[in-house]
């Protein structure tokens, strides 16, 4: 079937249209138009919403709300989102960042999804299909959510210096991830009181490194303090092998990059 585009001024009507078989939501196009170009025949209808709320960025009362249609470039340019800029700038080149959206990044297959990895560390909430879903749950079941429309993500502004992001790629400045690591670490009197660590390109989607998080509690962010966390970083993971790196290599270098993120 020939491709068609259905455009709606509001997200609710678009969501209803998306329920039809063979439909795919069109955000920035960097994932779904690519799929169509590459001969993916599993869909023939693009559904899009031109609702301006999808493009809105709000930073109020210590909370950030990013519309799903907000681009990487818009995040990188926003003065109140400087902490998140490294993650937004890690996505693609300038043209991709002008197009790729927050909502799309949540669905990006490994080794893509650098912003989603950051949002996982930030413990974001995803508004999808009218419900607020914790990002851990959203990512774990994201295939199910592909038939719905993500409206926004929200998270608390992290304390100064608490959020860290690092991407290792073979080609600089633009290259897909060998591994992406993001962490939200709270410390008190030099020791860690809470930690969320998210890993990109270590599975088919961003995942938490929960054993490493637990191993950080009560420890200082020193070489000795993080040693146990680094040793546990790859626990339970079977990283993918692709054109960028082998699974073996990803597992081998993960502690190096996590170490630089935490104590570098």
């Amino acid at each position: 079937m020939a491709l068609t585009v259905r455009t709606f001024p509001d997200t609710g009507a678009a969501a209803a249209a998306l329920a039809a078989a063979g439909s795919r939501y069109l955000g920035g196009g960097t994932l779904v138009v690519r799929q169509a170009n590459e001969g993916d025949l599993s869909f023939s209808t693009f559904v899009r919403s031109t609702d301006p709320a999808l493009k809105a960025i709000a930073v109020e009362d210590g909370r950030v709300r990013l519309g799903a249609g907000v681009t990487m470039a818009a995040i990188a340019a926003h003065p109140a989102l400087a902490f998140l800029a490294p993650a937004a700038k890690a996505v693609g080149g300038p043209a991709i960042r002008n197009m790729a959206t927050v909502g799309g990044n949540l669905f990006a297959p490994s080794p893509y999804g650098d912003l989603a990895t950051a949002l996982l560390a930030l413990d974001a909430t995803v508004t999808v299909g009218g419900a607020a879903v914790p990002i851990d749950l959203f990512l774990a079941g994201r295939e199910r959510h592909a038939a719905e429309i993500v409206e926004a993500v929200a998270f608390a502004v992290p304390a100064a210096g608490a959020f860290r992001f690092r991407k290792a790629s073979r080609v600089k400045p633009k290259g897909a991830a060998v591994v992406t690591v993001a962490a939200l670490v709270a410390t008190e009197g030099g020791t860690v009181t809470a930690a969320r660590i998210a890993l990109g390109a270590m599975a088919d989607r961003p995942v938490r490194a929960e054993a490493a998080e637990a191993a950080l509690i009560g420890r200082p962010l020193t070489a000795e303090g993080i040693a146990e966390a680094l040793a546990a970083a790859g626990d339970g993971l079977d990283p993918p092998t692709d054109a960028i790196a082998s699974g073996w290599y990803r597992r081998a270098v993960l502690p190096v990059h996590l170490g630089r993120l935490l104590a570098g």
Binding site: V5, G29, V33, E38, F46, G92, G93, P94, A95, I96
Partner: protein, 160 residues
């Protein structure tokens, strides 16, 4: 096949076309309008050969659907020379041997223009960052970086 009307300006001139729904901006520019300066190198968003400027922003025309460009202002490399006078970037790409096979060149010039339009005096790192989404397999990039820096210098000289 469903056709939809779309209007935009291309390099300053009005275009109105009936396009196939779902057609990419790249295909409409090349096959309908006949501006073949944007190239199809990958149709994946990874090579940058199809780069155009839409409403002042660098975009990949292979991943942009034409009907999402209603009312937009689109600039391509084919529209850069004015009255037969080359744009400083075009001149600099020739002089610095920044073009070999020529396939990446129109996209590369668009990426460079998007940079210089908002940052007329970029650093070398800023140039590298600006063309990071554009692949060149011939030059090794150095002559391209030099051309963009040289175009920026010549711009600032002519502005002075």
């Amino acid at each position: 096949m469903a056709k939809v009307p779309v209007q935009f300006t291309l390099n300053g001139s009005e275009k109105a076309e009936f396009v196939e729904s779902g057609a990419t901006l790249l295909d409409v520019l090349r096959d309908k309008i006949g501006d073949t300066s944007p190239k199809a190198g990958c149709r994946q968003g990874t090579c940058g050969s199809c780069s155009v400027i839409v409403d002042g922003e660098l975009r990949l025309s292979c991943l942009t659907l034409a009907e999402t460009c209603e009312g937009a202002s689109i600039v391509t490399t084919a529209g850069l020379a004015e009255g037969g006078v080359l744009h400083p970037l075009q001149r600099a790409f020739m002089d610095a041997f920044a073009t070999q096979c020529g396939f990446c060149t129109p996209g590369m010039i668009m990426a460079a223009k998007a940079l210089l339009d908002r940052n007329p005096d970029p650093s070398r790192d800023e140039v590298v960052e600006a063309i990071a989404g554009n692949i060149c397999r011939c030059t090794g990039y150095e002559p391209i970086i030099e051309a963009v820096l040289s175009a920026a210098r010549s711009n600032s000289i002519s502005a002075a």
